[in-house]
């Protein structure tokens, strides 16, 4: 599996420019807002009164935001929490427990990637429940207060609208956080317990596979008992040490005890199942079949153009350039086998061999070479066999031998200024390897899975706070049901903002919304051109207009998918601090204008109308 995220740049690189851009956008929106406000007042009361009123509002805004009282915000937050409890938020928790109970029946711990299945499930279930709860709570609270007039008793106290908005946001965030933390704790236990298992192994399961000289003990092998629909191959060496082979992406430690002439084998809980790999990504470029530089590889006709392909048996190569490769980062004590390279190579076959026995279709041989980008020195490091849908782990030895017998040191001879290239080639002619930038990475170390799990929930928390901000904003000027619909629209739009942007730019096959609708009505396929004529022209013109709207919406709405770290956790990749920081900044960049806009809507609203 690959995550399509490129490595995040450090904060000092992107932040200054992003901050400047953010300030410019906000400044532009603020000026436009002031102009609209002035125009609307000026039309009724004249231009001078317009300036006076808008100026007064501006001064009040600054005052109301600067003079926020923590005690009042605390009181209003506490009220929001009490109100949420009254609205039976605990029901959501009950639903979550019921879902987990059912999931215990249906989730298969014997699947190929059980950890992925379990983690995806709990993260998705929590995410949906918490986001829906945040949506409903934040959208209906203020309209309900206005409708029941309880807000009259609050706003006639020295409470600023900014405090009401902030109190709501903080209160709902507090209750959501409490719920999320509880769900995370239960989910963690659910995943760990659900995946935990061990196998039995007895002397009867083992048989000698390799005979030494007479009288010497032999290597023995055997299969463990079947648990979670799999068995492991156990190997007991003559020295008495044993190991358990990897199966379903995990292994077990084996402890052998001998007492009273009886040997007992004890397998530990699964190892390597719940991980948080820290990858070091490189940048990818290609060389064509003649060995010349090329922007992309071959297109094999795959609709998903994420990967480019290189042809086997030619000079076509996928080249990754890695930076920051030092002995200190990969010390021999921790990486005795060499530099660990993990890769998920897509295989495109022009012929398949014996397809009646899918498990025995042979893999496609490939080679990895290491090249020093400064000196051009290159040596073939690893020959491997690539299979579809599997992640291979290979090690580049610390010392490599060239065809002419010279021994090169990986770090001294093949790395220059921390830079190193890995060249991937497909050896078998007429077969293809597909590769994308994130397909090959160096596994620098493993971070704590528990911490990564918490980071995954932090991503859900960020989304929840954003939804609360949007919900509270809409609730300041819309009625409850309309605010729910608007917030839901923002959520759905945000989730699909990437698609909306591609639609706005005309990058989606089948045209814009109107053209696509006509194609559905006329049962036309997506790729053929529409019949020229008035209808097509009008549809395409409408799509252009709609495209502008989609562009604006996709630019404004937060891309919720990018705040989700569920894939990182499920696929066992560490969520880096840089990613966390970037997404936290992005959430804050949304929350500040959401708060100010909500304040202004409430400030200019006649509460008793």
């Amino acid at each position: 599996m690959v995550l399509e995220h490129a490595e995040t740049l450090p904060l000092e690189v992107w932040f200054p420019l992003a901050l400047l851009k953010w300030l410019l956008v906000l400044g532009g929106v603020a000026i436009a807002g002031l102009m609209v406000g002035w125009l609307s007042v000026a039309m009724r009361r004249g231009p001078v009164a317009g300036i006076r009123i808008v100026g007064r509002l501006l001064a009040a805004t600054v005052g109301d935001i600067l003079h926020i009282s923590p005690r009042r915000v605390w009181a209003l937050s506490w009220l929001a929490v009490r109100e949420s409890i009254r609205r039976r938020v605990v029901v959501v928790f009950a639903v979550f427990i019921v879902i987990l109970l059912f999931a215990g029946w249906f989730l298969d711990p014997g699947s190929t990637h059980p950890a992925r299945l379990y983690l995806s499930f709990v993260l998705t279930a929590t995410s949906y429940l918490v986001l829906l709860l945040a949506l409903f709570l934040s959208s209906v609270s203020l309209p309900a207060d206005i409708k029941s007039k309880t807000l009259h008793t609050v706003v006639t106290k020295p409470v600023r609208p900014s405090e009401i908005v902030l109190g709501r946001i903080c209160g709902f965030t507090a209750i959501g956080t409490l719920l999320l933390v509880t769900m995370a704790a239960i989910s963690y236990v659910f995943v760990v317990r659900g995946l935990s298992h061990t196998h039995e192994l007895t002397d009867d399961d083992l048989h000698a596979v390799q005979h030494h000289a007479q009288g010497q003990p032999a290597v023995r092998e055997g299969l463990t008992s079947r648990v979670h629909r799999h068995r492991h191959l156990a190997t007991i060496e003559p020295s008495g040490r044993g190991r358990i082979a990897m199966e379903q992406n995990h292994w077990h430690d084996l402890e052998i005890e001998k007492s009273d002439g009886k040997t007992t084998y004890k397998l530990s809980r699964p190892r390597g199942m719940l991980v948080a790999r820290v990858p070091v990504y490189g940048t990818l470029r290609f060389k064509d079949r003649d060995g010349k530089d090329s922007k992309k590889g071959v297109n094999v006709g795959d609709e998903w153009t994420y990967r480019s392909y290189i042809e086997g048996g030619t000079l076509a190569t996928a080249v990754w350039t890695f930076d920051g490769i030092t002995k200190k980062r990969f010390p021999e004590s921790l990486f005795p086998k060499g530099l660990p390279v993990e890769m998920t190579i897509e295989v495109f076959r022009t012929y398949k061999g014996d397809t009646d026995d899918p498990e025995n279709i042979p893999g496609i041989p490939g080679s990895l070479s290491v090249r020093n980008p400064a000196t051009g020195e290159m040596v073939e490091a690893v020959i491997f066999t690539a299979r579809e849908f599997t992640t291979d782990v290979v090690y580049i030895p610390r010392r490599l031998q060239t065809p002419d017998g010279n021994v090169l040191d990986l770090f001294d001879d093949l790395v220059s200024d921390g830079k190193m290239e890995i060249w991937l080639r497909c050896v078998q002619p007429a077969q293809y390897f597909g590769a994308a930038q994130a397909d090959v990475y160096l596994r620098a170390r493993d971070a704590s899975f528990t911490l990564n799990f918490i980071k995954g929930y932090f991503g859900i928390w960020l989304q929840m706070v954003l939804i609360i901000g949007i919900g509270v904003l809409f609730s300041t000027f819309l009625s409850g049901p309309v605010a729910i619909i608007a917030t839901s629209g923002a959520l759905v739009g945000g989730v699909f903002s990437g698609f909306m942007m591609r639609l706005a730019r005309g990058e989606v096959i089948g045209g814009g919304p109107v053209e696509a609708f006509i194609r559905i009505l006329l049962q036309q396929n997506l790729v053929s051109d529409m019949e020229p004529g008035m209808r097509t022209t009008v549809a395409q013109m409408l799509d252009v207009v709609l495209g502008y709207g989609l562009y604006v919406a996709a630019s404004i709405l937060p891309a919720f998918g990018e705040f989700s770290f569920a894939d990182h956790v499920a696929y066992g990749f560490d969520i880096s601090g840089a990613v966390i920081l970037k997404n936290t900044c992005r959430a804050a960049a949304y929350l500040v204008p959401l708060f100010v806009a909500a304040y202004l809507f409430l400030k200019t609203r006649e509460v008793a109308k």
Binding site: R71, T153, V155
Partner: protein, 306 residues
């Protein structure tokens, strides 16, 4: 030096419009009003006359279409003025999932009051409104009168200088009504300013120093209650009970001075007085049926036209 004028409206007008900006109703028309420090001011008028709209404009719950509403010399939309104001809405719009103590603590926090002050003030006010026995009960379990009382307590949590009461006696029983009126008078004696709006004329008459009568959004009458209600063409004499000969003699004296006796006999009291007396006696002698209560036995009264 503090200004003597606490509330001032200048040409205050409110027009309600529909979604499209079309005029629906002109709720208040060019109201000019002044309420001075230390007086109980009554806003009178039938339903829909603009009383509540005026109060909402003074509190900043509504914005004026034109004109100005000033409270303590500040614009009514300025929230800082609320630090010196207490407001009891027409119906007590309180959070029904809180109990009495939590309610007062919450509103105390909104005034930025320290914890100790808040607690003491909440305790005193709960006792004042007679809800000490129900302080831990959620408001959803309260009767209408109890909610009204706790509503009054929240209006006084900040020891306000100006108290706005919208239909203060609505929902209260006669005892509660009397206590509310007594409290209003006590607040006035403490130097506070009270603005109340009501259509219960007897209540207004009992407590207000000055009144304004609104009708269809326009100010129709403004002045002191005692001046406005004094019947200058009638003289009233009240005496302890007289026998028939004494009454005839009084009649002759009146006629001698060219007056006309309009009525003479035992005056009736109000039902409120009767009710309160029965309750008082019942409390003094629990379990005994109150008999023979006749509040009108205190004397005779007569009205004379001069």
């Amino acid at each position: 030096m503090q200004s003597d004028v606490v509330i001032e409206t200048r040409n205050l007008t409110k027009v309600y419009r529909d979604f499209w900006g079309r005029q629906k109703v002109r709720a208040l028309k060019a109201l000019d009003l002044e309420v001075r420090r230390g007086e109980v001011f009554g806003l009178l008028g039938p339903n829909g006359s603009g009383k509540t709209t005026t109060v909402k404009l003074l509190l900043g719950l509504l914005f004026p279409t034109s004109g100005q509403a000033l409270v303590f010399g500040r614009d009514a939309t300025d929230v800082t003025k609320n630090e010196r104001i207490g407001y009891l809405p027409e119906e007590s719009y309180l959070y029904r999932f809180l109990n009495a103590e939590e309610t007062l603590d919450f509103y105390g926090r909104l005034f930025n009051m320290p914890r100790a002050v808040r607690r003491q003030r909440a305790f005193d006010l709960i006792e004042l409104v007679g809800l000490g026995w129900a302080r831990k009960r959620q408001l959803k379990e309260y009767s209408k009168g109890m909610v009204r009382r706790i509503g009054l307590a929240q209006a006084l949590i900040n020891d306000p200088e100006l108290i706005l009461l919208d239909e203060p006696t609505t929902g209260l029983d006669p005892i509660g009504t009397r206590e509310m009126k007594d409290l209003i008078l006590r607040l006035r004696d403490e130097g506070k300013t009270v603005l109340m709006c009501s259509h219960l004329l007897a209540d207004v008459q009992d407590v207000c120093d000055r009144i304004a009568i609104l009708y269809q959004g326009e100010l129709k009458e403004l002045g002191r209650v005692d001046n406005r209600l004094k019947m200058k063409e009638v003289t009233e004499v009240r005496a302890t009970v007289l026998d028939q000969s004494a009454m005839d003699e009084v009649r002759r004296v009146v006629e001698k001075h060219n007056g006309e006796v309009l009525s003479m006999g035992n005056p009736t009291t109000t039902l409120e007085e009767l009710f309160l007396k029965i309750i008082r006696q019942s409390e003094e002698h629990p379990g005994r049926r109150v008999r023979g209560v006749n509040i009108g036995d205190r004397g005779s009264g007569m009205g004379i036209r001069e």
